[in-house]
C-alpha cells in the first residue's frame, strides 16, 4: 500500500510543478501548498505505514509492543507548522505585490531590474 501512496504523491508533485511553472503568482501559491503537502506525505510514507497502532505507550508498559514509526511523525508535525508559516508569508507577499505593482504575473514585475530596451 506504500506503493499506492507513492503514486498519489507523484500525482501531487506533477500537479504542483505544473502550477508553479504557470506564470501566475496565485497558481504558484497553490503549487506551493500542494508540494509542501506532498513533501510531508513523502516523509511519512518513507517511514512505512502502520494501521491502527499509534505510537503511544500503554499504561503499565515500558515500551509499545507494536507501534507506528514515531520519528517521521515528529518530523512531519513540525514541518506542517513551518509550512503554514511559509504559506502565510508567501500569501502576504503576493498580496503586497498585487497592491503595490498591480500585477500577479512575476515576469511583469521589473521594478528593480527594468526590462532592457533593445538598442
Amino acid at each position: 500500500m506504500e506503493v499506492l501512496f507513492a503514486i498519489t504523491i507523484g500525482v501531487l508533485v506533477a500537479a504542483s510543478v505544473y502550477l508553479m511553472l504557470s506564470n501566475h503568482l496565485l497558481r504558484f501559491i497553490f503549487g506551493l501548498v500542494l508540494i509542501s503537502n506532498a513533501a510531508n506525505l513523502t516523509i511519512f510514507v518513507a517511514g512505512r505505514l502502520t494501521d491502527g497502532a499509534p505510537p503511544l505507550i500503554p499504561v503499565g508498559a515500558d515500551a509499545p509492543v507494536i507501534a507506528a514509526n514515531a520519528l517521521p511523525q515528529a518530523l512531519v508535525l513540525t514541518a506542517i507548522v513551518i509550512g503554514f508559516g511559509l504559506f502565510a508569508f508567501a500569501i502576504v507577499l503576493v498580496f503586497r505585490a498585487w497592491t503595490s505593482l498591480n500585477s500577479l504575473t512575476p515576469d511583469e514585475m521589473r521594478l528593480a531590474e527594468p526590462e532592457e530596451t533593445p538598442k
Binding site: P54, L56, L77, T78, V81, F84, G85, A88, F95
Partner: protein, 139 residues
C-alpha cells in the same frame, strides 16, 4: 459578519476552545496533543472570535499583543533549555521533579520539558494570531 447568534455563540466557543487547548497541551506528553496542537487550537478559538465579532474585540480580549506572546514563548522555551545547564547537563536535557511520589505512583510530575512545551504553545499561538489579526486588519 453581523449575526447576533454567531456573536453570542463564538464568545462561548472561543472560551471553550481556549480551555480545551490548554488541556490538549498539558496531556500532550502521554496522549495525543502537545504544544503545537494546543497552540493551534487556542489560536483557532481566537480566530473564530475575531471573525464572529471583530479583530478589535479579539485583541481587547487577548489584552497582550500576539507578537509579544510569541516572543515570550520563544524566551520561555529557551529558558527551559538553558535550565539544564544549571545542573551541568547538556542543553535541553529534561529536568524532572516529582511531587508526592510514592513507590507505585509518580505523583505530580513537574518538568522543564513541560515548560518547554508551554513555550512552544505560546509561540504557535502568538505567531498564528499575529498573522491572522494583521491580515484581517490590513487587508
Amino acid at each position: 459578519m453581523n449575526s447576533v447568534i454567531l456573536r453570542a455563540g463564538t464568545s462561548y466557543l472561543a472560551g471553550l476552545l481556549l480551555v480545551f487547548s490548554v488541556y490538549m497541551m498539558l496531556r500532550g506528553h502521554n496522549e495525543p496533543g502537545g504544544g503545537f496542537i494546543g497552540g493551534l487550537t487556542g489560536a483557532t478559538g481566537f480566530v473564530l472570535y475575531a471573525i464572529g465579532c471583530s479583530v478589535g474585540e479579539a485583541r481587547k480580549a487577548l489584552r497582550v499583543l500576539p507578537q509579544t506572546i510569541a516572543v515570550w514563548g520563544l524566551g520561555i522555551a529557551l529558558a527551559a533549555g538553558l535550565f539544564a545547564a544549571v545542573f551541568g547537563d547538556a542543553l535541553f536535557t529534561g529536568q524532572w521533579l516529582f511531587i508526592g511520589a510514592t513507590e507505585d505512583d509518580k505523583g505530580l510530575p513537574l518538568s522543564s520539558v513541560l515548560v518547554f512545551d508551554i513555550g512552544v504553545y505560546l509561540v504557535v499561538f502568538g505567531s498564528v494570531l499575529t498573522l491572522v489579526f494583521a491580515m484581517e486588519e490590513e487587508i
